[in-house]
């Protein structure tokens, strides 16, 4: 059958029925079960595997707050290899290049299913090559929290990196040599996994703050090192100097100003990339100029937002993950900088998720099409290069969703007739800002009216596509392979698109 976005969904899979379809369903919640006994401390992973026990066919989960500095997932993967366990499902919240060992586990059939929100690096290669025997399911950050709390994604054992742990098994993200700040993505795993292991390199008598409640912890594994704190830094944390990126950022901020989105009490989120930070810089400058104080900024938090908080430009920061060490330090000392769980951040069934309170969000795109559908999961060959993360969550929740991207990259148009892979549906996207013009989705008549008399370069998305083609020519469309290797799930768990094995032609 075809889903609401026009993509074919295999029989038996829940089909995406629209971005608001979840509203007709009720929240399903497993009960949270505090442990009856204090956690047991271990010094060997093998002993933890034996105690849990970890056996064939189980689902193991991890969080990605140590990002590309993570050693915990890799250590668990090495133990799986050593024990020769089979048919496991891994459910890390994200997979980074540092998790290369996962490729070996997939190749050899130790791991047969993978459920994650983002995948980039060597672990993606055997999946693209069709070596994952089961499926790759790709959630959003909020969708993963929903899937875990509802029992749709049952987790047998959660291995949660904890930068510091006290004698009672409570964990903190802001202490220890691998302090990574907020542990928002670990919260669903902590509360609903059948067996929870905190993995730490720092045991202390008392914690400055508790991010992981020891009442839900079964075991604490003490190791030499859980990760490299330098690896948590996400991409670039400096404002771009690229003149095209700056032009896009300026126009995005001008657009938001013209439509009145930057006003007292507003809230915002951007990514960590150089252009996103450039938008934040433009917004900051407008806030200073006009004496505007916002309510909050959210998401992955960088030092740039910390500076804005400290300058008094926002009341709060809501932090589901820290993108740099400056954000980690701020979270530890500033009460206005608050950690939030993945569910509070973007779970569609949370009573008041932060994403629903956003005035606007600035997001990127690998591809965007004439329906404003966005792809951030694959490249145009169908190769895995990322995933939604919070893309679809924030796009749905924010009052205005702005996609910023170059019109062409590496001589390829980013605006397309049809995206290769659909990550975020066009109904959740409002505006596209490129260096050659701004396109507003036709049914946002409020935004069209608000900019009608402005000097902004407003164009249709069809017009932008033509411009892109005039510059680069019309790219040859590559047919995808026929074998389905996975699915992209919308935040409610329905299939919004399939992942196909890239064509070998």
């Amino acid at each position: 059958m075809r889903n609401a976005a026009g993509r074919v969904v295999p029989d038996g899979m829940p089909a995406f029925a629209g971005a608001d379809a979840y509203r007709s369903h009720s929240r399903v919640l497993l009960s949270q079960e505090p442990r009856k006994h204090p956690p047991v401390f271990y010094s060997s992973l093998s002993a933890v595997f034996a105690a849990a026990p970890v056996v064939d066919g189980m689902t193991l989960s991890f969080h990605h707050h140590l990002r590309n500095g993570d050693k915990v997932t890799n250590a668990v993967c090495a133990e799986i290899l050593r024990r020769g366990l089979k048919n496991l499902t891994l459910a890390p919240s994200s997979v980074f290049p540092t998790n290369a060992i996962l490729a070996e586990l997939i190749q050899a059939g130790h791991v047969t299913n993978l459920r994650t929100n983002y995948i980039n690096g060597p672990a993606a290669l055997p999946i693209e090559a069709g070596k994952l025997r089961g499926l790759l399911l790709m959630d959003t950050h909020g969708g993963r929290a929903r899937a875990i709390e509802s029992g749709e994604l049952p987790i047998d054992v959660a291995f949660l990196a904890a930068p510091a742990v006290d004698r009672n098994g409570n964990g903190s993200g802001t202490m220890g040599p691998a302090a990574c700040g907020s542990l928002g993505y670990a919260q669903p795993d902590l509360h609903y996994a059948k067996y929870v292991v905190l993995v730490t390199d720092t045991v202390v008598d008392s914690l400055d703050r508790i991010d992981l409640d020891g009442a839900f912890v079964d075991a604490v594994l003490v190791v030499d090192s859980i990760g490299d704190p330098e690896g948590i830094v996400s991409g670039t944390t400096r404002i771009t100097r690229d003149p095209v990126g700056l032009k896009i950022a300026r126009d995005a901020a001008r657009f938001l100003w013209e439509v009145g989105a930057i006003r007292p009490g507003f809230s915002m989120q951007t990514g960590a990339g150089g252009t996103s930070l450039a938008v934040a810089a433009q917004v900051r400058s407008l806030m200073r100029e006009h004496g505007i104080r916002g309510s909050f900024a959210s998401g992955g938090i960088t030092g740039y937002y910390v500076d804005m908080l400290e300058e008094g430009l926002f009341d709060h920061l809501y932090d589901v993950q820290c993108f740099d060490l400056s954000a980690v330090r701020s979270l530890a000392k500033n009460a206005l900088h608050q950690a939030i769980s993945a569910s509070r951040y973007g779970n569609p069934f949370d009573h008041d998720p932060i994403v629903d309170q956003l005035s606007f969000v600035i997001l990127g795109a690998t591809e965007i099409d004439l329906n404003f559908h966005v792809n951030v999961t694959t490249d145009s060959f169908g190769r895995l290069i990322g995933g939604s993360g919070g893309h679809a969550d924030t796009a749905h929740g924010a009052k205005i969703t702005v996609i910023t991207t170059n019109l062409t990259k590496a001589r390829l148009p980013i605006v397309k007739q049809r995206v290769t892979t659909l990550t975020t549906p066009g109904e959740d996207v409002d505006v596209l800002v490129t260096e050659r013009g701004i396109a507003i989705r036709p049914d946002r008549i409020d935004l069209i009216a608000a900019t009608r008399n402005s000097r902004l370069p407003i164009r249709t998305i069809e017009d932008l596509l033509q411009t892109a083609h005039a510059l680069s020519g019309v790219p040859k469309e590559l047919p995808h392979g026929t074998r389905i290797i996975g699915h992209v799930l919308y935040r409610d768990g329905t299939v919004i698109d399939n992942l196909y094995q890239p064509s070998q032609d």
Binding site: R241, P243, V244, L246, K247, E435, N453, R455, A470, L471
Partner: protein, 290 residues
């Protein structure tokens, strides 16, 4: 009329392709200093192909060719002179070089059957050029004159500073020559691309000496240059009030009238009209914003 002239390296495809997105009033595609000797042919071909296929719209397009004292200049001209190009920027331009270029352009225009006349922007960057600048400014084909302070400093053996006191005289002399000839006085680029405050100071300084535009060597400089060389909203509002009052006075056959307690006569009205022409050219009139 232009505020900014953005240099784009002729050997950089991504920069060439995006040259028109930064809002510069004029573009100078560079085949000279930005291009290494071994890339000269490739850059020339690249630029000629780009201009033939995708000439930027709504902006003046110039090409800085290699010096006439090199064998490259004629090849550059052969390749780029055409309908897509508004003018040629000539480095180290003295009277004799400009006469020679004018002759070459005349012949190329005839040979290529061009209906338009290709303009010239000479770069005054030698002591000899500077002392000839009043004569240079009178030549036909000139859109303006660009000060090249870096080469001039080498020729004069003075040190370039951020304050720019050493180029006050060349700036002022070029500005006077250009204003007398009713052509653009274009200031030398500010070479620190990471110092917007310094750029602003430099623009204000050159403007105070009579320069009305500035060359940019990085797109991120355009916004600052425009902020200085555009008429301010306050000045536009003043000029509009002068225009309205002048029209009213004209209906009453008054040559001189008073506004806000100050006498207004023809020079002030002319100044106001000049501001409004610039504002109109740059799309800054309030009705255009409405």
């Amino acid at each position: 009329m232009a505020r900014s002239y953005l240099f784009i390296p002729g050997n950089h495809p991504a920069m060439i392709q995006n040259a028109d997105v930064f809002g510069a009033d004029a573009l100078i595609f560079d085949l000279e200093d930005a291009v290494a000797a071994h890339e000269k042919d490739a850059a020339r071909l690249l630029l000629a192909g780009f201009l033939a296929k995708a000439r930027p719209q709504g902006v003046r397009v110039y090409v800085r060719i290699n010096g006439l004292d090199t064998p490259l200049a004629c090849k550059d001209l052969e390749a780029v002179v055409g309908d897509a190009v508004d003018g040629i920027v000539l480095p180290k331009a003295g009277m004799s070089e400009l006469m020679e270029l004018s002759t070459i352009l005349h012949n190329l225009e005839a040979q290529k059957g061009l209906a338009k006349k290709i303009a010239i922007l000479p770069i005054v960057e030698t002591a000899k050029s500077l002392v000839e600048v009043e004569e240079i400014a009178k030549l036909s084909r000139l859109d303006g004159i660009l000060l090249g302070a870096e080469d001039l400093s080498a020729d004069m053996e003075f040190e370039r500073t951020k304050a720019g006191t050493e180029i006050e005289y060349p700036r002022a002399r070029i500005a006077f020559a250009c204003k007398a000839a009713r052509i653009e006085a274009i200031d030398t680029p500010f070479t620190d691309t990471n110092d917007p405050d310094g750029l602003r100071e430099d623009c204000l300084h050159s403007q105070s000496l009579g320069m009305n535009a500035k060359a940019a060597i990085h797109p991120n400089q355009i916004e600052t240059i425009h902020a200085v060389f555009s008429p301010s909203p306050k000045r536009i509002e003043w000029a509009l009030r002068i225009r309205a009052a002048a029209r009213k006075a004209g209906e009453q056959n008054l040559g001189v009238f008073s506004l806000d307690g100050k006498m207004v006569d023809k020079p002030i009205i002319d100044r106001a009209e000049k501001i409004l022409r610039a504002a109109e050219r740059f799309g800054l009139l309030p009705e255009e914003r409405a």
